[in-house]
């Protein structure tokens, strides 16, 4: 240990706040400087970013990687779509039933998965997600099967793409703040403990199963919000929302940006969505490219972008501190 530590130029906390303000400013400014294509793509990135954050709440902190969250995302979207297209329900009913469906499915999935962990958890959630997809495709009276559900319309105040962009930005910012609160709460601390040692956590007096379930439902709550946003943004719901691919992409976003960080999944979402929307205009084989990115990320860069930058930053600080 060095006797005299050089004062750091700026504390990491301040840098984080500075970056956050910068990101929000950039988010606010985007529609003024970018074209409609970029705004629409960014909206999608915000929605998928929120979805990735919901998976990350469970995976990055609780150590439970769900491969079936697209099921929850999709059910919430279908909830909105069903009320909008098959009943006379207004926006209040659409929101209510979208959220209710998402939470109910989260609860059912959570109860099924709460006694499993690691690879078992992964397999169970994978099967859950696939079943929602299967139902979306076959349960014609409710989901419209391959035709999907049309007749979902955005509320008047967010009719334009740039308006919906701001709505998505606001919702993401609020949800990210809420997730930060959860992570720092007593429950969040126990959730992080759960990832490290569930035997120890139980022996300390926590119900491991209860914590997994609550974590699952909380995560499902945010996934449902993302699903509802998706339904309105798209104004159409089809089985592809609940596809395994949706979950896989979100996980790729998390790995790319940094597991267990708040900004990582959102950064990852922007990278993936923009690369996809730009590349898919040039080449037809986007899934192959995504699969290859997946393999390369897992093999060579599991800390992700935020993890990598943090490490570089720490190395830089350490070098300054130890002359």
């Amino acid at each position: 240990m060095t006797a005299i530590a050089l004062p750091r130029a700026v504390s990491p906390g301040r840098i984080k706040i500075g970056l956050l303000v910068l990101a929000l400013l950039a988010g606010w400014a985007l529609p003024y400087v970018a074209g409609p294509f970029a705004v629409a793509t960014a909206t999608l990135a915000l929605i998928y970013g929120l979805f990735a954050l919901s998976i990350n709440l469970l995976a990055g902190y609780g150590g439970l990687l769900s491969l079936g969250h697209a099921g929850i995302f999709g059910v919430a979207a279908y909830g909105v779509g069903y009320i909008a297209s098959r009943t006379e329900g207004g926006y209040g009913a659409q929101l209510f039933w979208g959220m209710a469906a998402g939470l109910a499915v989260s609860l059912i999935f959570g109860v099924m998965a709460m006694r499993t962990r690691r690879v078992y958890f992964l397999m169970v959630t994978l099967a859950q997600g696939m079943i929602v997809y299967g139902l979306a495709q076959s349960l014609e009276p409710v989901t419209g099967a391959e035709n999907g559900l049309t007749g979902v319309y955005r509320p008047a105040f967010v009719l334009e793409d740039w308006q919906f962009y701001y709505l998505s930005l606001a919702v993401l910012a609020i949800c990210a703040g809420l997730i930060q609160v959860v992570v720092r709460s007593p429950f969040g601390l126990a959730l992080r403990g759960l990832a490290d040692s569930d035997t120890r956590l139980a022996m300390t007096g926590y119900s491991v199963v209860g914590h997994r379930l609550l974590g699952f439902v909380l995560s499902g709550f945010f996934a449902s919000i993302a699903g509802i946003l998706y339904a309105y943004n798209n104004e159409y719901v089809s089985p592809s929302v609940a596809e395994f691919n949706t979950s896989a992409q979100a996980i790729l976003m998390i790995i790319l940006g940094g597991v267990g960080t708040l900004s990582g999944p959102v950064i990852g979402a922007f990278v993936i969505v923009f690369v996809q929307n730009v590349l898919s205009l040039q080449i037809e084989r986007w899934p192959t490219v995504m699969g290859l990115i997946f393999i390369l990320m897992v093999l060579f860069a599991r800390n992700g972008f935020v993890g990598g930058v943090t490490r570089l930053w720490n190395r830089y600080v350490r070098r300054r501190e130890e002359p």
Binding site: P186, F187, A202, L214
Partner: protein, 255 residues
């Protein structure tokens, strides 16, 4: 001394654990009074750790009863026992490596407090967490990740986590496992300094260390109880000596 069952902290009644055809624990009965210090000794494979997991609720006995704080807990899961006042350390270090030292202790302290399921308000380590760290000699490591601590410090943290929840009955599973002589002294002093009202059940491979710390001893062999008594009686017991002579030179780990 006779104690009525109501007062006993822990009561084992003919506890037996079978794995398939193998009997790991065979009819162990034991009564731990408030504030008593017990050691469970015996050669490798005697069933000490299995007995411990049964008391902790991580495994249920095949037959027999377990009573704790005056209630039957034979089939009560471990987190409920913990909430009623049971604490435990592990032979193989079992801390939260990706939490900081103070968070490790704070998790345990929060478990005993109301609001452990609260997810809408920031949790801050309370004063008790820091007191516990001070008591276990880890105050200077407060904000380090537990995974970065030395083996000896992790053993201290083991104890700190168990103590943070203010247990009435503490199970110590080889607290000095893998420690140097100097570190052993530290752990010994920590155990000695435990509050008087706290009952302790201790497994220790180092028999001298064990007998030094307790006032009652249960010696097991092949899952069966072979002797109970004060440390002096156990030292003098021929049966116990025979068991230890027979197994002299065995390996370290019991698994």
């Amino acid at each position: 001394m006779t104690v009525s069952p109501k007062d006993a902290v822990l009561e084992l009644d003919a506890v037996t654990v079978r794995f398939g055809g193998l009997i790991a624990v065979d009819g162990i009965s034991l009564t731990v009074e408030p504030g008593a210090r017990w050691a469970v000794i015996g050669p490798n494979g005697a069933g000490k750790t299995t007995l411990f997991t049964t008391v902790a609720g991580e495994r249920y006995p095949t037959s027999g009863r377990v009573r704790m704080f005056g209630r039957d807990v034979t089939r009560t899961p471990s987190h409920r026992r913990a909430r009623r006042g049971l604490g435990r350390t592990y032979q193989v270090t079992n801390v939260f490596p990706r939490l900081t030292v103070v968070e490790n202790v704070a998790v345990a302290a929060a478990a005993a407090a109301p609001g452990r399921l609260r997810f809408w308000w920031p949790g801050r380590p309370d004063g008790h967490a820091d007191e516990t760290l001070e008591q276990c000699g880890l105050a200077s490591r407060r904000d380090h990740l537990a995974g970065e601590l030395s083996h000896g410090e992790q053993r201290q943290l083991e104890l700190a986590i168990a103590l943070a929840a203010r247990p009435r009955l503490l199970l110590l599973d080889e607290p000095a496992a893998g420690l140097s002589a100097a570190e052993r002294v530290l752990i010994r002093d920590l155990v000695r300094a435990l509050p008087e009202g706290m009952s302790v059940l201790l497994i220790e491979h180092d028999i001298d260390l064990a007998l030094d710390l307790v006032d009652q001893v249960l010696c097991m062999d092949n899952g069966e109880p072979i002797a109970t008594g004060t440390p002096a009686e156990i030292r003098a017991n021929e049966h116990v000596q025979a068991v230890y002579l027979r197994t002299d030179g065995d390996g370290e780990a019991e698994h």
